[in-house]
Amino acid sequence: MNNDRFIVIDRVSKEFGAHGKSAAVRVIDDVSMKIGRGEFIVFLGPSGCGKTTLMRIVGGLEAASCGQVRLDGATVTGPDRKKGMVFQSYSSFPWLDVIGNIRFGMRFRDDISAAEKERLAQYYLELVGLRGFEGYRVNRISGGMRQRLAIARTLAAGPDVLLMDEPFGALDAQNREFLQEQLVGIQKSEQKTVIFVTHDVEEAIFLADRIMLFSARPARVLQEIRVGDHIGTQRPLAVKSTQAFFALRNSILDVTRRLALQTEKIMLQGGMFPA
């Protein structure tokens, strides 16, 4: 068992091809990391730095220019149901109802029986709190519900890792907080490995076991923050108003602010975060 090196990102770089007169753009610059089974990792960094691209490489939806990603020892070569994806935009199918979308997650599984699929569909429906809405059309439910639906559909496929790309980015503050809380609960109960992309510092702290803080493009890992060391591993909503939470938030914001001012060199000398 590779429990603490469940996912290995091994010296991954990515360039988007030169076409015509425009030169190749380096988006990810020699990034390595190890992710443990059941860990909740957040990729935090400024917009456009390459977080989505790195996550898509982990998901097999994009090929690395250099380096490789291994999931449970096997090199990632393409997408499959072991790498579940929750997209930024609403990705549920409008021609299916709510329960139909959840069932779609299991449609191509042949490791479980039809009866088991039906049981799981009901289980995930319940888990994300959509009981009572199973017959609803997708464009008749709210944005928050649609993202919960996307989570349920993705979990139903039985993935080893859940890749989430700013899934709450389009939601209002209240809904966002509610879904963050639910996600923490779901991740604990399902014991899933999660990689979650955001540019929202508070969201990152609230959710993460570990934050990977990226530089501006091309993305490099600037800092690795073990959030549990600062605010503990229990995450009730109230943790958001503790002193430790504020302190951590401020020090990260400090880093990102300076990042924005293009003073990366100072940052790299380290010692940013109180232990």
């Binding site: 998901g59 939806l61 393409g78 997408p79 499959d80 149901r81 790498k83 579940g84 994806m85 997209f87 935009s89 990705s91 199918f93 409008p94 021609w95 779609f104 997650g105 299991m106 449609r107 191509f108 599984r109 059309r137 997708v138 464009n139 559909r153 993705t154 139903a156 496929a157 993935p159």
Partner: protein, 291 residues
């Protein structure tokens, strides 16, 4: 609220009156204002009513032109004369047979067109090699005017059914296949990637995601292409035929039987309109989830 009048007979309170505790009323808008507001709302009822008014106006202008002899009678028949002639054609001259043969030609050619264009269009959107090989050819043929192909189809296939079907097919297929390919390309990338990350193989993505996702716009494009079929049909029937609505119109022209020519045109209009409305209705029923 009960209405109050002051002794001077003015309605409501004056400028110095007490503030009302009721919410400010929404200013009333007239039907006219609603209908003419820029990008205003529309309802099914008013749309149908407006359509009827449009037709009535057209009829009125048409009648006016005939009654006041703005246009000489032998060039423009009155609406009544056209309807009467249409009725006579239907009841006495087997015009219904011509209508059926025309409908059959349109639908048969359209069916042959769609049955090839749908899979090919989807393959073009999915595989670069298919697109690369076929798109330039299709784009080229697409710009050939259909009437220019008539002599060739007659040389190759004579003046039987085959040449007419071939002409209609060529007129619609090359347009349709590009429209279908575009419909398939416009399926959001996220939908396809959702499929791949829940373990669907490419063929399963095509069948269970791309096809249902593109279906509404595909049906719309089929409906529009079916309309084009009628244009080409008349060309085909005028040039090389001894039956069909186009043939009837063209023969009537020779003897300047204006009412008969116009009756034929009217028949095409009615068939086209009804077919179009029927497909729109199906679209609304089948894809209710879009609204």
């Amino acid at each position: 609220m009960t209405e109050q009048r002051d002794p001077h007979g003015r309605e409501g309170s004056g400028p110095d009156g007490q503030a009302s505790d009721a919410a400010a009323p929404v200013p009333e808008t007239t039907v006219w204002q609603q209908l003419t507001s820029f990008r205003g709302n529309s309802s099914r009822g008013t749309d149908i009513a407006l359509g009827a008014v449009g037709f009535a106006l057209l009829l009125a202008i048409w009648s006016g032109l005939v009654v006041f002899e703005v246009v000489p009678k032998q060039y423009l028949a009155s609406p009544q004369a056209v309807v009467v002639r249409l009725w006579e054609l239907l009841t006495k001259y087997d015009f219904l047979d011509d209508i059926w043969i025309s409908i059959y030609r349109v639908w048969f050619a359209f069916f042959l067109s769609a049955i090839v264009a749908i899979p090919l269009g989807i393959l073009m959107s999915s595989f670069r090699i298919v697109n690369g090989l076929t798109e330039p050819i299709i784009d080229f043929i697409r710009y050939l005017p259909v009437p220019a192909l008539v002599p060739l189809t007659v040389i190759w296939l004579g003046i039987g059914e085959a040449s007419k079907i071939a002409l209609l097919w060529m007129g619609t297929f090359f347009q349709l296949v590009l429209l279908i390919a575009d419909d398939a390309r416009r399926v959001p990338r996220e939908y396809v990637e959702v499929g791949m990350t829940v373990g669907a193989k490419p063929s399963q993505v095509l069948r269970h995601i791309i096809l249902p996702a593109m279906l509404p716009s595909m049906v719309d494009n089929l409906r529009i292409t079916l309309g084009w079929c009628w244009t080409y049909l008349i060309i085909a029937e005028i040039v090389a035929s001894d039956s069909g609505i186009g043939y009837v119109i063209w023969s009537a022209r020779r003897y300047v039987k204006t009412p008969e020519v116009m009756a034929g045109i009217l028949a095409i209009g009615i068939i086209g309109f009804l077919t179009d409305q029927f497909i729109r209705w199906l679209h609304r029923r089948a894809f209710a989830y879009l609204r």
